[in-house]
């Protein structure tokens, strides 16, 4: 293929490229066109590198990198494995989309500090790649914290009082959970297992048992605060003060995905599926996740602000992954991985649509969006596709993850959880579909009160001056919307791809 | 009872040292006048000098000068140590007094409670400047 490019080099490049990108963007501060071209180029190059790594992996070439000894016996190391590859692929592909979208959104809104915005994006991407390819827990933790820090300026972007408050909650919850729970869990693991390397089948077998294992598992799950398990979820709604591209980035590309990815890694490579199911260490976390899931869905129902509704929907959808891991069955884990992919595509679309609606009409609340669908058919169409995927109606990406998760629940004898998922699907229909339905079928706001002769409607629309959002915003949303459906057809392939590392 | 009486008598140097130490310490803590504090500090230090000198004494021992006539000497090392400690003590007193003079120059008083009042008003000024 490409001369001189070894898998090791490519692995290093995935980490260096976004960092380099941040540098270039910083240098090109005064030239928005160059800055944004550079962002796009770097994003594309990164995605290309990840795809190249994936192709190599499929051809049987893995890669490993050890950088420095952070602590004696604990190097900063990276390696390529299926789940990390999937996460990296999703994140880097969506980075391109979100960059395109950001360019449209940020330019149309004419926000200040755009250079800082793109730099932080690139740094956050570098951290995400670090998380995806981390070879041991300490490396993952390092990049996990870097991700928190690099996204803080993004959440803070508007620098209003509300933004400051939101960003403060964001960083304090994430740092608190990671220092208070995650760090002790890692030290504990290191102490009993003598290693933190991600090993298929886990590293804890025979080293810890009973309630202690359950406590350790809970520490990890709550410690990965980015996974937004209740009661440490409130940073996610708080972070909604950020510009929409950032929300999309937090929800779909990097932050929450890094959280659930950590949960998956812990379940698969630290505990191991077999060990988890033997010790029942994760059993009570099933209930925590289920409660989190149901409550978040109900809260989502009650939110009128579209972004807040989507935020709570994210909390619910992420609990799927935690629940899937806690089920301690192979199928549950597969479901978790698929959910990560499907939710990423679906949720990024929903957020981009929410942003597009805001850019086009200035409206944030669902109650004000009546009839907008007819004015912005592409945006609302993409929204519908993504909503279907989130709900899990076949043929859409979400269907496979639900399918595997339910099989997982049946495998581990937790039939009640199937009920939980059905309830949650019903709830997600209830909180997502009305947005689209109102958009398409209800009359525009302000139309209802006055008599409606046939000719009047046009003038109302022109009066409101609502048109489809700029192309830069709509096209990415449509692409991911379509993708979130198409992913249905590669679902089984993804499952095949990750199965080998899940053990017998 | 006699036993204890003897015990107390035999260790009279320790009692004296402890008394001096306690008095010195009390003066440092309780007096508000900076000079008196330094006096107390000196008493406190002197008590330690006494402790060292007295434990260096050997019964019937003489000054440790090798004359060939006597064989029992007092331990000379504590004396040497205390010579050093006295120097340290003098230096401390000197700095303490110098500070007291400077404090008197800038605060116009060497009474601790008056200094505290001035410090507090300064703090309030700081807080107001915020």
């Amino acid at each position: 293929m490409i001369e001189g490019l070894t898998p090791e080099l490519a692995l290093g490049l995935t980490l260096l490229l976004p960092g380099l990108g941040a540098l270039v963007i910083g240098v090109a501060d005064r030239f928005p066109n160059i800055r944004e071209t550079a962002s796009l180029l770097i994003a594309t190059a990164l995605c290309g590198t990840v795809v190249w790594l994936l192709m190599n992996y499929l051809a049987g070439a893995t890669a490993q990198l050890r950088v420095v000894q952070m602590l004696p016996g604990l190097p900063i190391s990276f390696f390529v494995e299926p789940i990390g590859l999937i996460f990296a692929l999703v994140a880097s592909a969506l980075w391109i989309v979100i960059t395109v979208y950001s360019i449209g959104y940020m330019r149309s809104k004419n926000y200040p500090h755009q250079t800082r915005f793109y730099i932080c994006f690139a740094l956050a991407m570098a951290s995400t790649m670090g998380i995806a390819f981390a070879g041991n827990m300490i490396t993952l933790f390092l990049f996990y914290e870097m991700l928190t820090l690099s996204t803080y300026p993004l959440v803070l972007h508007h620098e209003t009082d509300a933004a400051k408050r939101g960003a403060r909650i964001y960083i304090s919850v994430l740092l608190t959970t990671s220092i208070l729970f995650f760090l002790p869990a890692i030290v504990w693991t290191w102490w009993i297992a003598g290693t933190l390397d991600f090993t298929p089948g886990g590293i804890l077998t025979g080293k810890i048992e009973g309630p202690q294992a359950a406590i350790l598992f809970a520490l990890y799950l709550f410690g990965a605060g980015k996974a937004a398990l209740m009661p440490f979820h409130f940073w996610l709604p708080a972070a909604m003060v950020a510009p929409t591209p950032v929300s999309a980035f937090l929800h779909a590309v990097a932050v929450v995905k890094a959280g659930v990815f950590t949960v998956l890694k812990v379940g698969i490579y630290i505990f191991g599926v077999g060990f988890l199911s033997e010790t029942h260490a994760s059993e009570w976390m099933i209930w925590v996740a289920a409660v989190s899931l149901i409550i978040a869905s109900f809260v989502a129902l009650r939110k009128d602000e579209l972004k807040a509704r989507l935020a709570y929907s994210t909390i619910a959808q992420l609990a799927y992954v935690t629940l899937g891991v806690s089920l301690a069955s192979v199928m549950g884990m597969v479901g978790g991985v698929l959910q990560l992919v499907a939710h990423a595509l679906g949720k990024i679309t929903l957020f981009m649509c929410a942003g597009a609606i805001y850019v086009a009409s200035g409206k944030r609340n669902i109650s004000e969006m009546r009839g907008l669908g007819r004015l912005m058919p592409f945006t609302f169409g993409a929204f519908l596709l993504a909503a279907l995927s989130i709900i899990g109606i076949p043929p859409s990406g979400g269907a496979w993850s639900k399918w595997f998760l339910m099989i997982g629940a049946a495998d581990s004898g937790q039939q009640v959880m199937i009920g939980v998922w059905m309830l949650s699907s019903v709830l997600s229909v209830a909180y997502l579909i009305p947005v689209v339905a109102r958009g398409f079928f209800l009359p525009l706001q302000g139309e209802k009160d006055r008599p409606q002769p046939q000719g009047q409607e046009v003038s109302t629309i022109s009066q409101l001056r609502v048109r489809e959002a700029p192309l830069w915003c709509v096209v990415p949303a449509c692409i991911t919307g379509v993708l979130s459906v198409l992913i249905y057809f590669v679902g089984p392939a993804i499952a095949e791809f990750v199965l080998p590392v899940l053990g017998p | 009872m006699v036993m204890e009486y003897n015990f107390i008598l035999a260790h009279y140097n320790y009692w004296a040292v402890m008394l001096l130490m306690a008095v010195g310490f009390y003066v440092v803590v309780s007096r508000g006048n900076l000079i008196k504090k330094i006096v107390g500090l000196n008493m406190f230090q002197v008590s330690v000098f006494m402790l060292y000198i007295s434990i260096g004494k050997v019964t019937d021992g003489t000054a440790p000068i090798l004359t060939g006539k006597t064989e029992v000497f007092s331990n000379p090392l504590p004396h040497v140590l205390i010579l050093t400690a006295i120097v340290v003590g003098v230096a401390t007193t000197a700095i303490g007094l110098a500070l007291a003079v400077r404090i008197h120059e800038s605060y116009g008083t060497i009474e601790e409670d008056e200094i505290l009042v001035i410090d507090r008003t300064l703090e309030q000024q700081d807080a107001r400047a915020q």
Partner: protein, 503 residues
């Protein structure tokens, strides 16, 4: 030849250079002497550390008088590590000092300031090197007496420096005198002043009430010097009103040296094998350390003077060190030494950053920090990195310390302590968060023309900041040195006796 006498030259060169500064009477020359001698000490201490790590203990007999009669400079992994720490911070502060002190002290007083600085520096190196308990007292007082005056020199900016120095003098002298009392009692019992020899004899004599009283006096004496909570009352004022450079220097060295000295007594002279020693560790150091972490951090949150805030944070960090000591296992001691070093780097760095702000604005209240993130980007960036390190974010040295502290607690099976320590670091998040928000999110006051600090101040600041990051990403050097130091104290306090004290 030179190399053989390095242990004593290490102390002697700064000591001899001190009066030279006073004689030179020209600030520039005096600062030259300070920089030269601190740099010499830094180089020397690195050479000594590598010698000790490869060849074992160095015993230097002053005037060729053999111990236990003569004074011995005894360098093992523990104190040569502390030597590196002290001379590193000293050198950085010396480079930084010329510009910083220029603003705060009149030119005539500057050579005298240099004299005191070198005396203080030499005293600390002496305390660290010496193997003689009384010699330790003398060096301790050399450094303390000069420290009092250094603190008082802040009076040209704020007269409260004088009262702070006076309080420090009273407390410091009482502490030193307590130490001498304790030493006198132990001397009466053992008849020796050489620490290694003393340890041997104490093992022979065993437990007695005299020994206990002596021990108690010594520990309380050091406790005052190292600001064990609640004996820390002198510290916040002293750090707040001292000249900026002195605060940074003291924060990095003074308490660290006192911690080292008390470790030497807790582990070498006495040993945790003695019942009361272990008792003190567990029933005194552990609760006091934890109390320090929470109370002092809690107080720090409400400070509006940044130097005072950092001073309280120092008291809290001493708490971490004490908790590490109280584990009485190798990991705990490794954590202690690591945190000694790491905290010195980050706290000195933070105070140097504050010094830069003082240099430009003349004040260090939180309101002057408003908008500085844009006006003094390099200074504030260093400050933020220091703050992250205090919180314990990975890739900074603070994380490495915290890792070993938690590991030590787990090894002891002390779960709640492990959690208390990580929870304590969240308090640091609050008080650093406040400053960072002020610096980056609040607009600077109207007409503020503050610019970046001069290069000679930024350079040492960034040396510390970069080492804070570099040693956080690759901690092999610090961890292996700290582990060697811990081993030196724990397993082999005095060669020939290791059979009895071994693991």
């Amino acid at each position: 030849m030179m190399l053989a006498h390095l242990p004593v030259l290490e102390v002697l060169v700064p000591l001899a250079a001190a009066p030279l500064c006073a004689l030179l009477r020209r600030p520039l020359l005096a600062w030259g002497v300070v920089m030269a001698s601190t740099t010499f000490a830094l180089g020397g201490s690195l050479v000594l550390l590598f010698q000790v790590l490869s060849n074992g203990v160095i015993s230097y007999h002053i005037g060729d008088w053999a111990p236990p009669w003569g004074i011995e400079f005894r360098l093992d992994a523990a104190n040569s590590f502390v030597l590196v720490l002290v001379s590193l911070v000293g050198t950085m502060c010396a480079i930084y000092g010329r510009k910083s002190v220029e603003r705060e002290i009149s030119p005539e007083a500057q050579p005298l300031f240099c004299t005191l600085l070198l005396l203080c520096f030499a005293g600390m190196l002496g305390v660290t090197s010496t193997g003689d308990a009384f010699n330790l007292f003398v060096f301790l007082e050399i450094s303390s007496l000069s420290t009092y005056v250094l603190v008082a020199m802040g009076a040209s900016r704020d007269k409260r420096a004088l009262t702070a120095a006076f309080t420090y003098l009273l407390v410091g002298t009482i502490g030193a005198t307590f130490y001498v009392i304790g030493l006198g009692l132990v001397y009466a019992l053992t008849g020796t002043l050489n620490m290694a020899d003393m340890a041997l004899r104490i093992t022979d004599i065993g437990d007695s009430s005299t020994l206990r009283v002596g021990f108690a006096f010594i520990i309380i004496g050091f406790g005052l010097k190292l600001a064990i909570f609640p004996l820390h009352q002198w510290l916040p004022n002293a750090y707040t009103y001292a000249p900026s450079m002195v605060s940074a220097f003291l924060a990095g060295t003074a308490t660290k040296v006192a911690v080292y000295a008390s470790l030497r007594f807790l582990y070498t002279v006495f040993s945790p094998n003695l019942h009361f020693d272990a008792q003190v560790l567990q029933t005194l150091f552990l609760p006091l350390g934890l109390a320090a972490i929470f109370v002092a951090s809690g107080v720090a949150i409400f400070q509006s003077n940044i130097k005072r805030l950092l001073a309280y944070s120092s008291v809290a960090q001493v708490g971490y060190i004490l908790v590490g000591v109280s584990f009485a296992n190798i990991t705990g001691l490794t954590a202690t030494f690591l945190h000694l070093f790491n905290h010195a780097i980050m706290k000195s760095g933070l105070l140097l950053a504050v010094g830069c702000v003082v240099y430009r604005t003349g004040s260090c209240s939180i309101s002057t920090f408003r908008g500085l993130g844009h006006r003094m980007p390099w200074t504030m960036a260093a400050f933020v990195i220091g703050g992250l390190s205090m919180i314990g974010i990975p890739a900074t040295v603070g994380f490495i310390s915290k890792w070993y502290l938690v590991l030590g607690a787990l090894e002891r099976g002390w779960w709640p302590v492990a959690f208390a320590m990580v929870a304590g670091s969240l308090l640091a998040l609050i008080y650093f968060g406040r400053i960072v928000e002020a610096a980056y999110l609040q607009p600077s006051p109207e007409g503020n023309k503050v610019t970046e600090a001069p290069l000679s101040m930024l350079a040492p600041l960034w040396v510390l900041t970069i080492s804070c990051l570099a040693l956080g990403i690759n901690s092999e050097f610090t961890v292996s040195s700290a582990r060697a130091a811990a081993n030196a104290l724990f397993f082999d306090p005095h060669p020939g006796l290791s059979m009895q004290v071994g693991p």
